[in-house]
Symmetry: C2
Amino acid sequence: MRSGFAAVATLFASIVLPPSAIAASPVVHHPLDALTPQEYWTIYETLRGEGHVHEKTLFGSILLHEPDKQIVLKWTPGGTIDRKADVVLLDEGKSYASVVDITSKKVDEFHALKGEHSPFTATEEHQVGEAIKHDVRIVEALKKRGVTDLRHVECFPTPAGYIGLPEQKDAESRIAWGGCANSEGAISGSWDREVAGLFFVVDMLSKKVLRVSDYGVLPPMPTTGIYDGTGGEALAGTKPITIMQAAGPSFTIDQGLVSWQNWRFRFRLDPRQGPVLSMVGIEDSGKLRSVMYEGALSEMYVPYQDPEETWNSHVFLDGGEYFMNTGLGLIKPLISGIDCPDYATFFSGFFYKENGAPFERPQLACLFERTKGDPAWRHGDSNGTFGRPTRELVLRTVATVGNYDYVLDWRFGQDGAITAGVGATGILEVKPVADTDVSKGMSKGLADSNAPGGPVEFGHLVAPGTDAVNHDHFFSFRLDLDVDGTKNSFMADKLVQYKIPSNKTEYGRHVIWAMRPTMPMTEGEAKMDLSLQHPSMWRFINSDTKGPQGYPTSYEIMPGQTAGSLLPSDEWPQKRAGFSEHQLWVTPYEPNERFAAGTYVSGSRG
Amino acid sequence: MRSGFAAVATLFASIVLPPSAIAASPVVHHPLDALTPQEYWTIYETLRGEGHVHEKTLFGSILLHEPDKQIVLKWTPGGTIDRKADVVLLDEGKSYASVVDITSKKVDEFHALKGEHSPFTATEEHQVGEAIKHDVRIVEALKKRGVTDLRHVECFPTPAGYIGLPEQKDAESRIAWGGCANSEGAISGSWDREVAGLFFVVDMLSKKVLRVSDYGVLPPMPTTGIYDGTGGEALAGTKPITIMQAAGPSFTIDQGLVSWQNWRFRFRLDPRQGPVLSMVGIEDSGKLRSVMYEGALSEMYVPYQDPEETWNSHVFLDGGEYFMNTGLGLIKPLISGIDCPDYATFFSGFFYKENGAPFERPQLACLFERTKGDPAWRHGDSNGTFGRPTRELVLRTVATVGNYDYVLDWRFGQDGAITAGVGATGILEVKPVADTDVSKGMSKGLADSNAPGGPVEFGHLVAPGTDAVNHDHFFSFRLDLDVDGTKNSFMADKLVQYKIPSNKTEYGRHVIWAMRPTMPMTEGEAKMDLSLQHPSMWRFINSDTKGPQGYPTSYEIMPGQTAGSLLPSDEWPQKRAGFSEHQLWVTPYEPNERFAAGTYVSGSRG
């Protein structure tokens, strides 16, 4: 498992009374605030009123359509807020994109999508899944494996990201693929119950299975306790650690504006992007200095790496394709005391159902301060030691996408740093293989021992017959920095070797490194890669605003542990997730370029 | 500032009664335990008894001489422990290396060092510093700058790491260089009081200044509050966070063996290396499985990057050169509540003075559990969410070397991970320059605007006339892994592109990545570099011990955020700190290769 790195904005309108949260009736205080239940209903009624909602119409996506940035920046409290929504409808297999003006209750735009589709909906996945399971070829294949009781069999159509299959020839068709699981005898769930070797391609519209491929019968994976839900007792001798903030948190929230130390920011909980931070600034001697207009997760990319179609079809663009696959949005409720400290403040959110109706989800985000017992700074000398403890503010959500749970943090430091932290937990999705013990060799499902250049392995046997297939996780964040205002430039400070000109060559140092500030002038030049051999520091500067020593003010982007994509750029998965080719892409502000793999990812050809 | 990455072993014999520590009379429970006061005195008396200690003899280094690993591994509690020490003496400018057998009270080895020297001692630095300050050329140079009151002037001779200067021609000479500071008017200390442009080379033995170079007069840097010692009040609205472990810690310490969860380990506090972990293992179903024989900081390398001799002479090998520069050892006392939580357990240590006498330093290490409010693991699905909170054990020390304070952590996770964490804090050492504002250009002290390839900068103006010079921080750790025993091999699992052989070329995926296990067979092959484009995973495996699926058991080395050296390999600083050229070096066990830049760093030519 490898990790990539990679931010857009909403406010969840909520008033918080410490120590626990009280969800107030949501109100729009700011143009970037989340959609309210009343607004979801206005959207629904407006579309229905103009004849766009029929009996079988599914709402694939209802998202805030943000006002133009310039309008937001000019807006002041008490001013008019014009509200709009981006809506994607799926109607009898056809996808439509719409902009609904909530304020004036009018449909601004409505057009059919060409070659792109609505995100998959839970309803169609369930209906098509039922149809697949009863396809004669599937029934036959299951029978070959001794499975005749279909009550515990589920078939999962997942969006077929374009890879040039004959079945995908018609760009307007809505194609899925996948496999089946038989949960008979399982402890809980079906992640370890995959039916080996079975693969299908299905037309989501006609609910017809276009192809069934059988890569061979293997015994079911052994039923194992995949994870221990209750956890059992703590190890002997484990003593409690109690963390309390008896006087309440140090942050305040006023009409959605979070204030902590010198930080000021808003956030909304978005069904697709999760938390969208906005209007992030620092109060400096009574003046609010802007840092970031918006920051949010833009896309996720999880390609599995297995030679067999059953598993190399696992190429997930989880942000754009999967955020509504359970009908509940990308982020899921948090558990107090496990996901967040029990003194955290929790926030609910209003998302939409496939019938267009709003619903409230509890504990979708938590906000808490923490101190980790580390010094913020310290210095000791022969006179003694000075220092101060540190604390940070954490805004946390968890995105659960199938088997994986991604912990998404926005952390604010006292040193001016904002950290976008990503953690992966959950359970492994595993592939059935013939191997039970690798000490005497590996099957073709697990390895190619005759590969040119030497043997290679495609995964790791984690239990008898159970292969955890190699895969990557790339997270792309969209960050719209406004350092001391909107007029920002991007600087790459390269560290280069520098020959000392005046030095005698016989002795002393001849070569040092120095910093060469460079300003990429085009999007092409501003595709940045990380390299230990050719390092550079990435900054957004404001040439109009000078610090006390005359430098333009700036904010640095520091990547954490990251990864590069190893797939050739002409491979379809890599084309569709082209953003994974570079670690940083700098582009001018363009409201339609919010999503790294495109707005409509289903059906996208990159 | 950039950071490198980089881990050897002692136990400080201590019995701990929660919640605060009680320093017991130190006893040797294990062959790798730290030297006791009684042992320091035996070393002193044995050397004196054999005629090696004279009136002016300084003890440059007294370190535990570890027994052979095979002897330690065969040793069982109650068995004989033969104790030895490595001692370096500085006698009238000559350095001697000695091995003293403490048990039999005999000097095993005693020889003069050739071309290498004792670490610098505080005594000689002070004496030579006084001599420099009164050198006529220095007095004259200070007078040119209006400084005639020498009471607040200090001159600092620092070890002249070899760079081929004419003054360094004689390998037996003990050469230092440096500059002076005038603290008149300073708030506290002299880090911002450097006398601009003044550089000297001095013979530590004769206390004669060999050369004074004057690179030009500049006004003193303005007196600034470098750091706010008391810190003032917390920001308005800051509410307390209370962390308590009322029932005491979950770890126990029995005769120096730390037990926490399934982890077992020992540590000693070493004057040169700081904490030396040893005998690290995991208890697995009642059986102790070894993980690491020893792990410790091996060397630090901090080269500054300035074209002027005054500052490019700042090339510090802080581990080998500086650990006794204040006469107190590398690590310094910790402050409860700032460096470590106030519920932490603290450990004192016994180091030596330059006259060979032992002394006790309080609070040199702390050990604490912490929970950060993050989940250890969690998974949610439509049935609900399971998970568990996490905690970790932290062994912390702080190495203060001049202006910098390095926070050195060994962290033990519940997931089997050991993290060697390094943090840098403290204050900047700054260079006086002519610039007060850079908006209209920069002086030659700060930048070269006519450099081939475009302008480059050598540092950053942090206050008027005050340049924070570019520099690197490299930390090299020595890790002696014993995965399930001593018979280990090193594996590099490379991630390579793999062409799927059977796939039709018209459609589908053609190229995936796969893992190619490789085993470097020589030290040359086992110099490992990090690359996003050519990634590999580094593991130490035990081919004789198989896991449940038949894989050899192994332990992975995962580098964190790291850096490569940008200096050419034929530059002297790079030759002396050659370890910074690669991120991982794998070498067979060799007790004399503990230190990445050599055992005797002073005078070393790489």
